[in-house]
Amino acid sequence: MCCGNNDIEKRAELPDAVDMELIKDMCFFDPHVHMTSRTTDDYQAMADNGIVALIEPSFWLGQPRTHVGTFADYYSSLLGWERFRSSQFGIKHYCTIGLNSREANNEALAEAVMALLPTFIYKEGVVGIGEIGFDDQTALEEKYYRLQLELAREAALPVQVHTPHRDKKKGTQRSMDIALEHQLDPSMVIIDHNNEETVEEVLNRGFWAAFTIYPFTKMGNERMVEIIRQYGSERIMINSAADWGISDPLAVPKTAMLMKKRGIDAATIKAVTYDNAIAAFGQSGQIDPNDFANGMAINQSEKFENNSILRGGQQPRIAKGSIIIQ
């Protein structure tokens, strides 16, 4: 046997093979995806699968940063280079700015980052404070979660809350309790990485419930379909949270395919893969769906003025099936 090619062939015959017909004419908004960690192939595939806009939350880069300057450069790159890179594939790029929970545990660094945040949260296309919340659920994590909730309230920005992998249910409850303590309106708070155990309380308390379709460690999308069947589409949204781990930047369109296939109606699919994310994060005043609903090319001619070269989706394509590289 060589290289597993047989497996790939077998997969194409599976009943659950990717079928673009299922999502014909749909477009998607992935409200949580870490493009900094992804390749241009991913951008191309996302555009091909109908993703027209995305939100890149600030997060942990897999290894702790040790200088405040690397945070400043990271935020700048989300607002500059990554946004430009995304536009080349016709995908509108937004971001949320924040100090993630893991790095909140380095107090000296966290203090310096907090001082930096106010200069970044009013930048164009910053649609919230995020992703913030608990990881280990330490006292320092709580301290900087609270300080950032205050910042969000002052700036009238939505909050994107990361909920912990370990001790998830309690961590999620605590995140919501603290947000309410700081007088945040639950309609301004998106609780992320939900599962069957957390969703009911999140919705009952008036928060947005985001679900991350992420293989092995978070939600699978068959479970997601069942959750949609049970809870409907109100205040629910789906994201990929694709990053440097084994994850899938096509999680949103693939889940739409699965929902369609399993008989979920078109309006519900649109709500959880597009509309609700725009409604929640659009409260920042930074999202105009006209910028991407009909493709980004039109918009770019306005936004980037005298720039005739930049057009969404005009990156030259590589002929992937050919061994010739020109």
């Binding site: 400043a72 935020y75 607002l79 500059g80 106010p118 930048k123 936004k303 003025e305 005298n306 720039n307």
Partner: protein, 246 residues
Amino acid sequence: MFAFNIALLRTMLSEFLQKNSSAASFSWLLTESNGPQHINRNFSLAGRKFSKLKPDGAPEQFIYITGNFPQTNWANWTVLDMARLYQLLQLEATGKQAYIRLIEELFLQADLGELTVLYKSLPFFAYPEEWSARCAEGIRSNIGTVLDAIMQENNYPSAYLPEAAWNQMVLKAVFTGKNLALIYGLQKRKNTALATSLLDYAEERLAAGRDIDNGIWELTAPLFPGETEILQSKFLQQTSEYVLRK
């Protein structure tokens, strides 16, 4: 300190902005402090108060300002760009080091739109000779809009860049397919080193079987007429062979 009449430009921008923004935004612009503690935040906040589009009926509005500042193509500035330039012109410039540090900070923390307008505004900073390193740094960027802002319709590079940086800019413009007609001062600053590099580049393109922007010949022909002619004919031959193969 400034290489242009700053008072006049301020007046003109303010007249323009009054006509093209809401009363609330305009009064915010006039009254907000542009001191060191506030400029970073206010420079960003302007994006939430001014239009990112070119103003309606642009041509008439630009006659007056263009008449006085003809080196800039104002028709390609958005209302927001103008507002941000106005903010930059309000900065306290008498202390040279502090002024430069302040603007450098803006560059370091800028988003895409801010970065673009900062580079577009290079001709309007105080101490113009101090910004050539910043300009050269911008040319190292891979962000298309930043490169456009520096290379096209900007009279800073040809006036202030040292030869090596100028040549890098022109080579990068050719390499990234920019419209050479929009580079100000291109003819005036042609030089032997640049022409040599362009001829080398043309040889490379030929070897790779790729075509080339014919605009480069105007930069090489006056200095190397023989070499230029030979290369031009080789490109012609390559094109006709390609057409025949098809």
